[in-house]
């Protein structure tokens, strides 16, 4: 393949497209003409052919560095902001890193091992980056325990769903996401913004949700994505009024009917849908009929290079958008011998739709019986008085464990009625769930922890 045929991110930054911006809470950077600028200090040309660790805390700077490094370096490992310092050494070894791009150069003192390139606000440069080779995009899985796995993607695979969907209709979109763009879900939105000719508003760690929504309104964001937990937080905050995106997407966790209906009420004019994607399997599919689960007809059929099947209750995906492999000395196979990724997401056929019931690894054991906490939460969440819930196991000297549920009441709900609400929820759980899945106790709480990846924190899973 000659360099001209390689598809590089910078090729989508046409200087003739005016008014494109990338912003966070502090800065606005013009994407028009960004290819004539550089955010890399020192010897950026030496990144050519290197294996680069992109360890830039700041999302905006990280985004600019990705554009510069793509198709120059051999590979680029994206570090999410919550990466634990004690995991870095193992990741550097596994990914054969020999260059670091960082906004904290003083932290990387072992310069014998690798080239250190500092990242800072972009400045004009006469040097034009040359497209040299397709860069491998390495991403980390977001599991909670142990060193994260390194997943190897190509830009072609990462953008497969974007190309299949085609450009957004109407005026150029302004994208936003609650995710960090170093995570799969967030990177999808960043790539959509770059490739689709739009602008993007980045999230800011620790920013109060009302301030974030104020920025989304100011920048007239039209397209936005997040996990159901992110969206429940937004709905709870009461900050959604005055914000009217055209396109609202959920991914990363099970989108139950309650959160889909809540978003429909909050954004009556928007297209609301949920998408299935994972860091390993890539973007699987999108569901836009406003209902939880997905049509059973999607199984078995191959569309846009994605084929799905259900084996032993878990969703398996064979896809041109899937990662190529795990990277590292002890790396396991990413697919089975037929090329399918086992997603570990468990589904159940009800009527003519498949419903997600939980993660294989997230099962809690109640007296020898297996329970998916998400299945219980879906029943609790459908009550109008409930905004969000978490089912978990609680140890018991008698059965080993029982199910308990922590529940956040919907905004404006009368706390004085909590006893009645508890009774109603329990009666519904008893009518809808097997006896061992009915929570033994329901506790009303003010908040539930959400991980930096935007998922409900499950300490016992």
């Amino acid at each position: 393949m000659s360099p001209r045929e390689i598809f590089a991110l910078r090729d989508y930054l046409d200087p003739s497209l005016k008014g494109r911006t990338l912003s966070d809470a502090r800065r606005v950077v013009s994407l028009t003409g960004i290819t004539g600028e550089t955010c890399l200090v020192g010897r950026p040309r030496q990144l050519s052919g290197r294996s680069v660790l992109l360890a830039v805390a700041d999302q905006l700077l990280s985004a600019l560095a990705m554009i510069e490094i793509d198709d120059v370096a051999r590979r680029m490992l994206l570090c999410p902001p919550d990466l634990r310092a004690d995991h870095v050494k193992a990741l550097i070894e596994d990914a054969e890193i020999d260059a670091i791009v960082t906004d904290e150069p003083a932290r990387w003192t072992d310069a014998d091992v690798y080239l250190v390139v500092a990242a800072r606000a972009p400045v004009r440069t006469a040097a034009r980056a040359k497209t040299e080779r397709p860069t491998e995009w390495l991403m980390l899985t977001s599991g909670t325990s142990g060193v994260p796995k390194i997943v190897n993607h190509s830009l072609e695979g990462l953008t497969g769903a974007i190309v299949a969907d085609g450009p957004a209709r109407g005026a150029p979109p302004v994208w936003a996401t609650f995710y960090d763009i170093r995570r799969y879900g967030g990177l999808q939105i960043f790539l959509r913004a770059v490739i689709g000719g739009g602008s993007m508003v980045l999230s800011e760690p620790g920013e109060p949700i009302a301030d974030y929504v104020a920025r989304l309104r100011d920048k007239a964001v039209t397209h936005i994505s997040g996990t159901p937990s992110h969206w429940r937080k937004l709905l709870m905050s009461g900050a959604a009024s005055g914000f009217s995106p055209r396109y609202v997407r959920l991914s990363g966790e099970i989108a139950d009917q309650a959160v889909l209906d809540g978003l429909r009420r909050a954004f009556p004019e928007a297209s609301i849908g949920h998408a299935y994607a994972s860091t390993e399997a890539g973007v699987g599919f999108a569901v836009n009929d406003g209902l939880e689960g997905f049509p059973a007809a999607m199984i078995g059929e191959s569309r846009d290079g994605v084929e799905m099947k259900v084996v032993d209750g878990s969703l398996r995906i064979r896809s041109t958008r899937a990662a190529r492999a795990y990277v590292g000395r002890q790396a396991a196979a990413l697919t089975d011998s037929d090329g399918f990724v086992d997603t570990g997401d468990m589904v159940e056929l009800r009527g003519n739709r498949y419903h997600f019931v939980g993660r294989r690894g997230g099962i809690i054991n109640i007296g020898g019986l297996k329970v998916h906490p998400e299945e219980i939460e879906a029943v609790i969440n459908r009550h109008a008085e409930v905004r969000m819930s978490r089912a978990r196991s609680r140890r018991s000297p008698i059965t080993g464990a029982i199910v308990v549920a922590d529940v956040i009441l919907a905004e404006g709900c009368d706390v004085g009625r909590s006893d009645d609400i508890r009774k109603t929820i329990l009666a519904d759980c008893r009518a809808s769930l097997a006896p061992h899945k009915v929570p033994a106790m329901i506790k009303f709480v003010a908040e539930l922890d959400v991980t930096t990846a935007g998922k409900l924190a499950r300490h016992d899973a």
């Binding site: 007296g367 018991s396 000297p397 008698i398 029982i402 006896p435 033994a440 106790m441």
Partner: protein, 81 residues
């Protein structure tokens, strides 16, 4: 409310939720005679832990699970506050 009354009230509440027909609760009644299954007892112990702040069956290493309602109540009454 005394510990005894709180325990009795929790048993009655769980019996309603679990749709168990309770016989009269006297001290001599065997626990298996209440009609509760192990889940019912697990719920009872967890609720009492939240209500009274103690779980006598986990605290004590040599605790044997009580046989009668009287034993059960005494297990709670005998834990130093």
């Amino acid at each position: 409310m005394s510990v005894r009354l709180r325990i009795i009230s929790a048993i009655q509440q769980i019996a309603v939720e679990q749709q168990v027909n309770l016989p009269p609760l006297d001290d001599e009644l065997a626990l298996h005679g209440t009609g509760f299954d192990s889940l019912g007892f697990a719920i009872l112990v967890a609720r009492l832990e939240d209500d009274l702040g103690i779980d006598p069956f986990t605290i004590s290493e040599d605790a044997s699970f009580p046989l009668t309602i009287g034993d059960f109540i005494r297990a709670y009454e005998n834990v130093p506050a």
